[in-house]
C-alpha cells in the first residue's frame, strides 16, 4: 500500500456521496460497502490507494477496510471495462446452455472470463445464479439484462455489449 499520495483518489464528490450515508447507520464502519460501491461506480474499481483514504473517513484501520473489500470478489483493484457483463453459470442457466454462451462470448470478445477487452470496453465474467432463471440462459451487463441467450447470438451480443459501452 502506498504511503505517499500526491493526488488523493477520493474526489470531493465521492467524499460527499459517502458522507451522505453516515446518518443512516449507527456506526461509520457500516458505510464501508456503500462507500466501496460509490468508489467503484466512479472509477470502475477500488484502487489500493483509496483504502487508507476511505479508512480515515470511516475512522477505521486500512486493514479493516481491506479485510472487508477483499472478502467480496466484486471490487477489483484495476478498472473493469465500461460494461461489466456477468454470464450466469449456475444450474438453471447451465441446463439451457449458459456455459456454452459464456464460451462463445469469450471467443467473440477475445477475452477469457475475468478479463477485459483490449479496448477497455467490456469485462466478461461468469456469475453465480443471477436470479434470472425465467430468462435462462441470461446475462447481466451493468444494469441491462440479456435474456434467453444462445450460442448463435454470441456475435450480435458481443457487438451489443460494445455498443452499450460506447453509449456510456
Amino acid at each position: 500500500m502506498t504511503t505517499t499520495t500526491a493526488q488523493p483518489i477520493l474526489t470531493p464528490q465521492m467524499r460527499a456521496e459517502i458522507e451522505a450515508y453516515f446518518p443512516r447507520y449507527p456506526t461509520k464502519q457500516a458505510v464501508t460497502l456503500p462507500a466501496l460501491h460509490i468508489i467503484n461506480e466512479h472509477l470502475r474499481c477500488v484502487p489500493e490507494g483509496a483504502i487508507p483514504e476511505l479508512a480515515k473517513m470511516l475512522e477505521l484501520s486500512p486493514a479493516q477496510v481491506y479485510d472487508t473489500l477483499s472478502f467480496y470478489g466484486y471490487f477489483k483493484s484495476k478498472p473493469c471495462g465500461k460494461v461489466r457483463a456477468w454470464v450466469c453459470r449456475s444450474i438453471s442457466c447451465s441446463l439451457r446452455g449458459g456455459e456454452e454462451v459464456l464460451e462463445a462470448l469469450s471467443e467473440k470478445l477475445g477475452v477469457a472470463p475475468g478479463e477485459t477487452s483490449g479496448d477497455g470496453k467490456v469485462t466478461l465474467e461468469f456469475g453465480e445464479c443471477l436470479g434470472l432463471c425465467d430468462f435462462a440462459p441470461a446475462m447481466l451487463a451493468n444494469d441491462t439484462v440479456y435474456k434467453n441467450l444462445s450460442v448463435e447470438q454470441a456475435g450480435d451480443v458481443a457487438a451489443q455489449l460494445k455498443k452499450q459501452a460506447d453509449a456510456k
Partner: protein, 448 residues
C-alpha cells in the same frame, strides 16, 4: 377445484404496478392504516402468530413467533430485510421487488410496528439493479406521502427504511452473515446464541425477515388469520406449524415455460411442471428435479408427486422446501454434470470461516472435476460420501447451514443415483477406476 386467485402477484400484470398510485388503487396501504389506528404491536404479533405464517426464505421458521422473541422494552430495535436472494434457481423476491415494491414496503412497515423497530435496512443483492431502483423510487414516494418518516399518519410511529446493496456473496443471505455485512465487515456468520432477536445488528435486538414473508403480512391484516389458514396443508400435530397460505413457486430448467407462479402451499412437483411449467421441454421425459433451490437436494422422477409444502421434500430425503424453486432436468442430463455444477457453486460461495465447509466444498468440487474429466475412481464416491456426512450444522461441524446445503446434493445424488455415478466412472476410466491410492486432484477445468 376452483382456480386459485393470486394474492401476492395480484397486481404485477397491471401497467405501472410498481407505483404508489396503482398500489393504492388496489387497496394498498389500507393494512398499515388499520394496524396503526386499531392494533397494538402485541395484537399485530398475535395476529401473525395465529396465521402460522412461516418464513419463506428457506428455514420456514414461524414469523409471528420470531417477532415475539424481540424484547418489548428495548430502546432500539432494527429490522433487516433479507433481499439477498441468491439460492440458485430462486427469483420470486426479484419479481415482488420489481413489480410490486409497495406491497413489500407495507409488509416491512407492519413488521416494524409489531417489533417496535424504527429503522429497517433492506439488504438487496447487487445483481438486482432493477429491484433496487424500484424499491428506491417506492421509498421516495412513501416519504412524499407521509407513509415513512416521523409520526406516520399521526400515530406517533416513526420509521425509516434504507436500502443497502450487497456485493455478490451468497453467504449474505444467511441472517447473521447479512448482519455482519451490513455492519461493514466480511459476511462471516455468527455463532448462535445469542440470536439476532437478542443481539443482532449493531449489537441491538434485530428481526430478520425475507421479502416474500413480509409481503404476506398486509394480506393477513386485511383478510385475517383464518383466511390465511384456509389455504395450504394443515398441521398434522401440535408441534407442526403446518404449511399455510400462498407461496411463490419458481420453475426453471428444462420446462417449456419457466416462470414464477403463486399457488397454495402443497402443490406437487409434477403439477408444477405439467400445469404451470408447460411440461418438460422438447417432448422429453423428466429425470430429476431440485425441489427448492440447489441446497435442498434432488427428487427423482418417481418422486415428482411429492407435495411441495414444508414437510413434503423431507419425506423423500431432501433437506426441505427451501425457497420452493424447482429446477427440472430432462432425461439427457448426466448426474455427473448436475453434481459438478452444485459442488462448484458451493465451493465458490463457502465463506471460508469454518474449515470443514471451506475444505469440504472445495475438495468436493475438485473430486467432481476429476470424475467429470474421466479420471474418477470408485474411491472418490466414498470420499464424497464422507464429506457429505461430516460438513454442516447437523453433524455439528459448522457455524451456519451453507455446508448442509452443500452436503445435500451430494447425499441425494449418491443415495439416489449411485449406479449412474459408478457406471460413469467405470466407463470413462476403465483402467483406473479401482485404484485406491491417493491421487492427484485436478483443479477446476472451468474458471473458478
Amino acid at each position: 377445484m376452483a382456480e386459485f386467485e393470486p394474492v401476492l402477484l395480484a397486481n404485477i400484470h397491471k401497467p405501472d404496478s410498481h407505483t404508489l398510485s396503482v398500489y393504492r388503487a388496489a387497496g394498498g396501504y389500507a393494512a398499515i392504516k388499520k394496524v396503526l389506528s386499531t392494533m397494538s404491536p402485541v395484537d399485530t404479533v398475535e395476529l401473525v402468530k395465529a396465521s402460522n405464517l412461516r418464513g419463506r426464505g428457506g428455514a420456514g421458521f414461524p414469523c409471528g413467533l420470531k417477532w415475539s422473541f424481540l424484547p418489548k422494552d428495548a430502546p432500539t430495535v432494527y429490522m433487516c430485510v433479507n433481499a439477498d436472494e441468491s439460492e440458485p434457481a430462486t427469483f420470486n423476491n426479484r419479481i415482488l421487488m420489481e413489480l410490486d415494491p409497495h406491497q413489500v414496503l407495507e409488509g416491512i412497515m407492519i413488521g416494524c410496528y409489531a417489533t417496535r423497530a424504527q429503522t429497517a435496512y433492506i439488504y438487496v443483492r447487487c445483481e438486482y439493479p432493477t429491484a433496487y431502483k424500484r424499491l428506491h423510487q417506492a421509498i421516495q414516494e412513501c416519504y412524499g406521502a407521509g407513509l415513512l418518516g416521523q409520526n406516520i399518519n399521526g400515530s406517533g410511529f416513526n420509521l425509516d427504511i434504507y436500502l443497502h446493496r450487497g456485493a455478490a456473496a451468497y453467504i449474505c443471505g444467511e441472517e447473521t452473515g447479512l448482519i455482519e455485512s451490513l455492519e461493514g465487515k466480511r459476511a462471516w456468520p455468527r455463532i448462535k446464541p445469542p440470536f439476532p432477536a437478542i443481539e443482532g445488528a449493531f449489537r441491538k435486538p434485530t428481526v430478520v425477515n425475507n421479502i416474500e414473508t413480509l409481503a404476506n403480512v398486509p394480506h393477513i391484516v386485511n383478510r385475517g388469520a383464518d383466511w390465511f389458514k384456509s389455504m395450504g396443508v394443515p398441521s398434522t400435530n401440535p408441534k407442526d406449524p403446518g404449511s399455510y397460505g400462498p407461496k411463490l413457486y419458481c420453475i426453471s430448467g428444462h420446462v417449456n415455460t419457466p416462470c414464477c407462479v403463486e399457488l397454495p402451499l402443497g402443490v406437487t412437483c409434477r403439477e408444477l411442471i405439467e400445469r404451470h411449467g408447460g411440461g418438460v421441454w422438447k417432448g422429453r421425459k423428466g429425470k430429476m428435479a431440485i425441489p427448492g433451490g440447489m441446497s435442498m437436494g434432488l427428487l427423482t422422477e418417481k418422486e415428482f408427486d411429492t407435495p411441495l409444502d414444508f414437510a413434503g421434500p423431507g419425506k423423500v430425503g431432501c433437506l426441505g422446501l427451501g425457497t420452493a424453486a424447482v429446477t427440472v432436468m430432462d432425461e439427457t442430463v448426466s448426474i455427473v454434470d448436475y453434481l459438478n455444477n452444485a459442488c462448484r457453486f458451493f465451493a465458490h460461495e463457502s465463506c471460508g470461516q469454518c474449515t470443514p465447509c471451506r475444505e469440504g466444498t472445495s475438495w468436493s468440487s475438485r473430486l467432481m472435476t476429476r470424475i467429470l474429466s474421466g479420471k474418477g475412481r470408485l474411491k472418490d464416491l466414498e470420499i464424497l460420501q464422507s464429506i457429505s456426512q461430516s460438513i454442516g450444522i447437523m453433524p455439528g461441524t459448522t457455524i451456519c447451514g451453507l455446508a448442509d446445503g452443500a452436503a445435500w446434493p451430494l447425499k441425494n445424488a449418491l443415495g439416489k443415483f449411485r449406479g449412474e455415478l459408478e457406471e460413469y466412472i467405470k466407463k470413462t476410466n476403465p483402467g483406473g477406476y479401482q485404484q485406491e491410492e491417493p491421487a492427484m486432484a485436478l483443479v477446476e477445468l472451468a474458471h473458478h
